[in-house]
């Protein structure tokens, strides 16, 4: 759970910095690229998850692939745990390094090759998501997974979190777009997973690595599939006088079988925050909810689909449905959505960005539940989310320095999560488990399943040095200790 009162451990509480290790790392990457003074480390003591400050012992920033490999090998020799980090925009605390080495990959930001003919690209892990789409746009291509943080987050971080985004409804999440990876295993060995040039046989290790949250090693390069730009795009804004009506429209559109490129929902609180910010998109401020619906593809037949969406919105009680007239209006409508978290963040001192998924038919009842829970705990929830996927983001702005309010916020969040699980959903659709969702893993997975996950992690990282303490609760990993002979893999 996020929102623990910020605290910076005092120097004496922390592990003494391993000066010798820092020196050896500096010999690889240069003095300027190794930080170990508390003041310098402050910027790397948090990620996108509010309320935590965890200081790394050392932060090291290699600039080339060879330097990364040398650093990982040095850490292996030292037996030092480490945490890979991209842009630090993660919302589950995955890139927090608590007294261990932080390995920054943001300097590896080169696009290594673009093969427009086959619609694939090979990129270094520190390439910023949107930079890839920009680089391939001249070929009429783009990289489809588009997290709202795409202007900052890295492909390496996307791979580690199996990131999603508004357009993943139609195009699929990161998993569906990664075809091959080169990985530095925590022991320093470099392996290639997958095959960009043909099919694969054997185990789907690319599939296993995507979403492994930095626990299986460091992605050194990523081969991704690119998507062709659609011939035409239609962006619609529908507004509703109740959240329920909006949610029913979503369920109806999905049930109709239509597959919009994106289907996003924002409620009144979100709309007001956006409209009060510099990203004001022209959303109606008196609406209880708006849907942002995008349809794309060949021109032929597209407007028939638009008509179907409009009909479902109206049937559900939409007050108004308008289609963006031009690219400028489209961009503006999207800008408001993509910057919604930022807009909310301006209003409160702290913002819990929650992430859970429910079956699409359960959206109306779940949004009503969220509303009830918020009222009971006297907190204000703003919903802005990937409605077409049933991927909720109920967010609560609050003041983390007010203990009473913090307690109410956390209790409300726990209840919301439980409600999503009870509805047949899951505890995270795209932000990952990190440390934030650790307490909920037991709510959806049995001990047997959790220990199987531990076993998989141990194949990649027998010493458990890569991103220790994340994703799977430690107590579930007792089998690690029990059957070491079975895991050596030498048979």
């Amino acid at each position: 759970m996020s929102g623990v009162t910020p605290s910076v451990a005092t120097e004496s509480e922390r592990h003494p910095v391993d000066a010798a290790l820092a020196a050896r790392l500096a010999a690889i990457v240069g003095d300027r690229r190794v930080l170990f003074r508390p003041g310098e480390l402050l910027a790397y003591s948090s990620d996108g998850l509010p309320g935590y400050l965890k200081q790394p012992s050392i932060a090291v920033f290699p600039g080339t692939r060879d330097e990364v490999i040398a650093v990982v090998r040095e850490l292996a020799r030292a037996g030092a745990p480490f945490v890979p980090r991209g842009a630090g925009t993660g919302l589950s605390g995955g890139a927090l390094a608590d007294g261990v080495v932080l390995l920054g990959l943001n300097r590896l930001s080169r696009i290594l090759s673009i093969d427009a003919e086959n619609a694939i690209a090979v990129v270094e892990p520190g390439v910023v998501n949107v930079a890839l789409s920009r680089a391939v746009s001249a070929h009429g291509l783009h990289y489809a997974p588009d997290p709202s943080s795409q202007a900052a987050c890295t492909i390496g971080g996307n791979v580690a979190e199996n990131a999603g985004g508004p357009h993943c409804l139609k195009y699929g999440v990161t998993l569906n777009h990664v075809v091959a990876l080169t990985v530095a295993l925590p022991n320093g060995e470099v392996v290639t997973l997958g095959n960009a040039a043909g099919e694969n046989d054997g185990y789907d290790l690319v599939g296993a690595f995507v979403g492994s949250e930095g626990c299986f090693g460091v992605a050194l390069d990523v081969t991704v599939r690119l998507a062709r730009n659609p011939q035409a795009v239609r962006t619609l804004l529908a507004d509703f006088h109740s959240i329920d009506a909006g949610a029913r429209a979503v369920s109806a559109i999905i049930a109709s079988g239509l597959l919009p490129a994106a289907l996003e929902m924002m409620d009144a609180g979100t709309i007001r925050a956006v409209e009060a910010s510099i990203y004001a998109a022209g959303y109606p401020t008196d609406a209880a909810a708006v849907l942002l619906v995008e349809l794309d593809g060949p021109i032929a037949g597209l407007d028939a689909d638009v008509a179907t969406v409009v009909r479902h919105c109206r049937d559900a009680g939409a007050r108004d449905v308008r289609v963006a007239r031009d690219e400028a209006e489209r961009t503006k409508l999207w800008q408001g959505r993509k910057k919604a978290f930022g807009a909310m963040g301006r209003i409160s001192s702290h913002l819990v960005v929650q992430d859970a998924v429910v079956p699409r038919t359960k959206l109306p009842q779940m949004l009503a539940r969220v509303h009830d829970i918020a009222e009971r705990y006297r907190v204000t929830v703003c919903n802005v989310f990937h409605a077409g996927d049933g991927n909720l983001h109920p967010n609560i702005g609050y003041d983390a320095n007010d203990p009473d309010e913090s307690a109410r916020v956390h209790a409300a969040m726990r209840e919301i999560m439980q409600a999503c699980v009870d509805a047949g959903g899951t505890i995270t659709g795209e932000h990952g488990v990190g440390i934030d969702k650790l307490p909920y893993m037991g709510a959806i997975f049995s001990e047997e399943s959790l220990s199987a996950m531990c076993a998989l992690r141990e194949v990649f990282d027998p010493d458990r040095r890569a991103n220790p303490g994340k994703v799977v609760p430690m107590h579930s990993c007792r089998e690690w200790q029990m059957a070491p002979a079975a895991r050596t893999g030498q048979h």
């Binding site: 003919e117 569906n176 789907d204 999905i254 060949p298 037949g301 079956p359 996950m453 048979h491």
Partner: protein
């Protein structure tokens, strides 16, 4: 052994662990191990553990036990205008969901919809440690925990016995059409048509290039290679798609039944290899495949230009010498060669192993530490 419940299945596996008894996992047995050298005499029959567990049409997801046939799933979903857009070879009334996911099997629809990897949302399986394990879930987006779903998809039952899976469904297109476009056999002609198909503003549901022998088997005989293209969408969309296809060559309608026929048209027991390279090299891959098929009586070819894959089907009867088959298959080829089915004796020679490194071996050892589930299926025991 034919356990009827999850508890019994787990007991069977625990019992096998106690006795160190290797198991051959069998569902409906329609494709068993494609003759892969599995070293197990005891059959663990799991095909009877079947039935749809949950299907809420509005969610476009379906959860079924592993023994459920693709036909049963199609019957339930089509009643609601939906489908599991997956058409692996074999008779759908025998092919099971569990085996399809376990073998990662797919068919022509992969052109548009991808493979089991892309549509499996969650699984339940009993691992070789006798644990009941779940990965993923029943919702369409889920990143909770490490991805055990992808791990067992395509693992051929070597890590665990699938008991249940949740898959993503799609709406059936309201209009469908299938067109056949004759092309010349010259490489330049093939390359021109491939490029033109790729430049279309839409992605067809399926695109298969078939050679004369495959056309014959499908009942659309003709002397030359042809593209068979499956279109789908709303009425206006399909009308436009037809128009656009005409720009590529002379296109005429064929019965959409052809796709069903394609699933069962293959000679029983044929040796099959898939050749693949980047799609841009499809014409060259097709030529390489032709060099194999030309040298084999009754050899057939079909391929997906979008995926860069060509499937070479060589009929095999009792009189065929393994050595001559091997000679036909072993042409020099710098792409990826994946064997689907071979005479038993040829597996070790042609496809020694699908275990490529220490991680593959480690995964096997972690999930099946006693090597009891389909041991040898990935060549790991040679």
């Amino acid at each position: 052994m034919a356990p009827a419940s999850l508890a019994e299945l787990r007991e069977s596996i625990r019992d096998a662990i106690a006795r160190r008894c290797p198991l051959r996992v069998v569902s409906r047995g329609s494709w068993l191990d494609a003759n892969r050298p599995v070293h197990a005499d005891t059959r663990l029959e799991v095909g009877a553990y079947a039935g749809i567990v949950e299907y809420e049409p509005g969610d476009l997801t379906l959860t079924a036990r592993a023994g459920t046939t693709l036909h049963e799933i199609a019957r339930a979903t089509s009643a609601n205008g939906q489908w599991l857009a997956l058409d692996p070879l074999g008779d759908p009334s025998r092919a099971t969901l569990g085996a399809t996911i376990a073998t990662g099997s797919y068919g022509p629809l992969a052109h548009h919809f991808g493979t089991p990897r892309d549509m499996t949302l969650g699984v339940e399986f009993v691992s070789g440690t006798g644990d009941v394990v779940r990965g993923g879930g029943r919702v369409v987006k889920n990143v909770a925990g490490f991805d055990l779903t992808r791990l067992v998809t395509g693992a051929w039952g070597s890590l665990g016995v699938l008991t249940e899976a949740t898959v993503r469904l799609r709406a059936l297109p309201s209009v469908e059409a299938t067109l056949l476009i004759d092309i010349g056999s010259a490489t330049a002609e093939l390359e021109r048509a491939r490029t033109a198909l790729r430049g279309l503003p839409f992605v067809p549901l399926a695109v298969q290039l078939v050679d004369a022998a495959a056309r014959q088997a499908l009942g659309v005989a003709g002397g030359r290679d042809a593209f068979i293209v499956r279109l789908g969408g709303n009425e206006e969309a399909v009308r436009a798609q037809r128009e656009q296809l005409r720009g590529i060559g002379e296109a005429h309608d064929v019965d959409t039944e052809i796709w069903r026929r394609a699933r069962v048209a293959e000679p029983a027991g044929a040796a099959v290899v898939r050749l693949s390279r980047l799609p841009s090299r499809f014409a060259a891959t097709w030529q390489d495949a032709e060099r194999i098929a030309e040298r084999w009586p009754g050899g057939q070819l079909h391929g997906d230009p979008g995926r860069g894959v060509v499937r070479v089907v060589l009929p095999v009867d009792g009189n065929v010498l393994d050595a001559s088959l091997r000679a036909a298959l072993e042409i020099p080829f710098d792409g990826t060669r994946i064997y689907e089915r071979l005479p038993r004796a040829l597996w070790p020679a042609l496809a020694p192993t699908a275990m490529h490194g220490a991680i593959d071996r480690g995964v096997k050892a972690a999930f099946d530490p006693h090597y009891l589930l389909n041991p040898g299926i990935f060549g790991e025991l040679q």
